[in-house]
């Protein structure tokens, strides 16, 4: 039995479709449409917005200041995705090839942080990275050790340790985003690796390829769809991240979401904020279109 035509059973179709359609139109399509319309407006007075069809907001968004912030957000999101991929790939491999007994628990170990409140996790990381947090204490101990070794071999000891500034800068934003998004990367990678035909890996090893070569030439190409999915799932939320740059970043680590937020709270320039929001949405669409284009390419061969 294939899909039913909606006309053959209108009553059931209405029952399952109307609530969803109404909800989506009323509380998703209309709010988005309002943002879109406002992005062509301008502030007229304190609380009034005049929808004049102007393109000024989009013109303003192409000023160097905002282009720079868009560029920086992309760069940060791309870097975060790359680090997540490098850190997450071996983890996904380990989970895939773990014993039946261990695999679910390792997966749970990755998923539990993913279910834990984002704000709580960000705060926990801030405690660790703070001026007197454990990250700094660990570095201080390493520094002390290096200094001790230097005196041992007859060199001048290192100067006294100054606590490193690990918070409120770009490093903290990247670190925090990696911390938050790592599970997003590991789970799709695992899903792809789990479907992999193991006999291919075995064949490659039997034919004399080393483990590293097997991973690069066999596992990675076969898991490519999962890698692309993982990259998208990490890149998209990282690009729109608000909380991490807001709490862990310095004055120069603003990402696009922070600029949008400011238009709605402090700067009170809703039309410009609406335009920036839509530019961000268009950027997402372009990313997704690129991904689906990639997916279609192998089918042509």
């Amino acid at each position: 039995m294939a899909e039913q035509d909606w006309k053959t059973n209108k009553r059931v179709f209405a029952a399952v479709s109307l609530p969803t359609l109404l909800w989506t139109i009323l509380f998703f399509a209309i709010p988005m449409a309002i943002v879109w319309v406002y992005s062509f407006g301008q502030n007229a007075g304190l609380n009034e917005i005049d929808i004049s069809g102007t393109l000024d907001n989009y013109k303003r968004a192409t000023e160097w200041l905002y282009l720079g912030i868009f560029g920086k957000s992309f760069a940060v999101a791309a870097l975060v995705t790359l680090i997540c991929l490098i850190v997450g790939f071996p983890v996904a491999m380990a989970i895939t090839f773990a014993s039946e007994k261990w695999r679910p628990w390792l997966l749970l170990g990755i998923m539990l942080p993913f279910w834990t409140n984002l704000l709580v996790r960000t705060y926990a990381l801030m405690i660790i990275l703070g001026q007197q947090g454990y990250a700094n204490k660990g570095l201080e101990a390493l520094w002390g050790g290096a200094s001790w070794i230097k005196t041992l071999i007859g060199l001048q000891p290192l100067p006294t340790w100054e606590p490193a500034q690990l918070l409120f800068n770009n490093f903290a934003v990247v670190f925090g985003l990696v911390y938050v998004h790592l599970p997003f990367m590991v789970l799709p990678l695992y899903a792809a690796l789990d479907r992999l035909d193991r006999s291919l890996v075995e064949a490659s090893l039997d034919l004399g390829a080393g483990h590293f070569r097997t991973i690069m030439r066999i596992v990675v190409p076969l898991a490519a769809p999962g890698i692309v999915a993982g990259v998208m799932i990490t890149l998209i939320p990282a690009l729109g991240a608000y909380l991490t740059p807001d709490l862990m970043g310095g004055t120069d680590s603003q990402m696009i979401a922070n600029v949008i937020e400011r238009q709605f709270k402090k700067a009170n320039d809703w039309p410009f904020g609406a335009a920036l929001s839509f530019i961000l949405i268009y950027a997402m669409f372009i990313l997704i279109a690129l991904q689906s284009m990639r997916r279609k390419v192998p089918e042509l061969h």
Binding site: M1, E3, D5, W6, R11, A15, V16, S17, P19, T20, W23, T24, F27, F28, A29, P31, M32, V35, P90, M93, A94, I95, T96, F97, A98, S99, P104, W105, L106, L107, L108, M111, L112, T116, N117, L118, L119, V120, Y123, A124, L125, I127, I128, Q132, Y179, L182, V201, L205, H211, L239, G240, Y242, L243, L247, A257, A274, S277, L280, I281, M284
Partner: protein, 280 residues
């Protein structure tokens, strides 16, 4: 580690190589150490999260006597529960709609339903802020009606996840069961209740867990949607973090972490660790 293993390692047992174990161990430390430090310091008898000064429960006492914080937590749980129930209903029926029927503009409907998953949170937040301002949604209602705007926003971004999970579960449904039920005289509703829902049950549990945690977790959309008098837990913790870091935040965060673990444990008990792991 290789010395300790009783049987020799097969080539594909990557997880038994030493460097793999070290790598996974390091990642787990990276993921969990901050949370464990936070939980330990919530019992620390000091104003700052720096040196251990002895065990105390006083910050839990303070957090639980902080009326605004408790109200925020109750609000968050109420919103999450309401959003979960409605998301399950909408998610289940929309999945059935997309799975069972062929109708005009199906591609567009399908795309629109899954859009909230990919639209950045900040944009959704902005959209709800403008929408509720435009329709002049009342903000001074009595509890729990004052949470309606936030709940609506949460349902909108939660139910597409339920749709996604339920739909992939429905793909494994044997449609002959449906025909058999019909042949035996079951009506549409009876078939939905007695045949489809039992089949969807694992996906519904997973979807409920997903909606509940997504709703409880959300800060950005709530931050834009909440009126001046409606505080949720993440919004309250955010303002505490911004303006005054007190150990109360540690205590409150620990309570939330424990809540997450309890929820996970319940899900594990219901479904077993394998099934939970496979739904993601």
């Amino acid at each position: 580690m290789a010395l300790l293993s009783r049987t020799p390692r097969a080539p594909l047992e990557y997880s038994r190589t030493l460097w793999m174990r070290l790598w996974v161990g390091a990642v787990m430390v990276f993921l969990y150490a901050p949370l464990i430090v936070l939980m330990i310091f919530s019992f620390n008898d000091s104003k700052r999260n720096v040196v251990w000064r002895g065990f105390t429960m006083k910050y839990y006492d303070k957090a639980l006597n902080n009326d605004v914080l408790v109200e925020a937590l109750v609000n968050s749980l109420t919103i999450a529960a309401l959003a979960t129930v409605v998301s399950l209903i909408l998610g289940a029926i929309s999945a059935v709609m997309l799975w069972r029927f062929r109708f005009p503009l199906k591609g567009a409907v399908d795309g629109t339903i899954s859009l909230p998953i990919i639209v950045p949170e900040i944009c959704m937040g902005v959209a709800f802020l403008m929408f509720f301002a435009k329709v002049q949604w009342p903000t001074d209602l009595i509890w729990p009606l004052n949470l309606s705007a936030i709940t609506i926003a949460h349902i909108t971004f939660c139910f597409p996840f339920v749709t996604m999970v339920v739909r992939s579960r429905l793909a494994s449904f044997n449609r002959e069961q449906e025909e058999a039920a019909k042949d035996l005289g079951a009506g549409e509703w009876q078939m939905f209740r007695d045949v489809l829902i039992p089949h969807m049950k694992p996906a519904l549990i997973a979807g409920a867990l997903l909606s509940f945690t997504l709703s409880l977790d959300d800060f950005v959309i709530t931050y834009f949607t909440s009126g001046p008098d409606t505080v949720t837990f993440p919004v309250k913790v955010y303002s505490m973090l911004r303006f005054s870091v007190t150990p109360e935040v540690n205590a409150a965060s620990t309570i939330l972490i424990i809540l997450t673990i309890v929820l996970t444990a319940i899900a594990l008990k219901l479904q077993g660790v394998k099934a939970i792991a496979e739904t993601h």
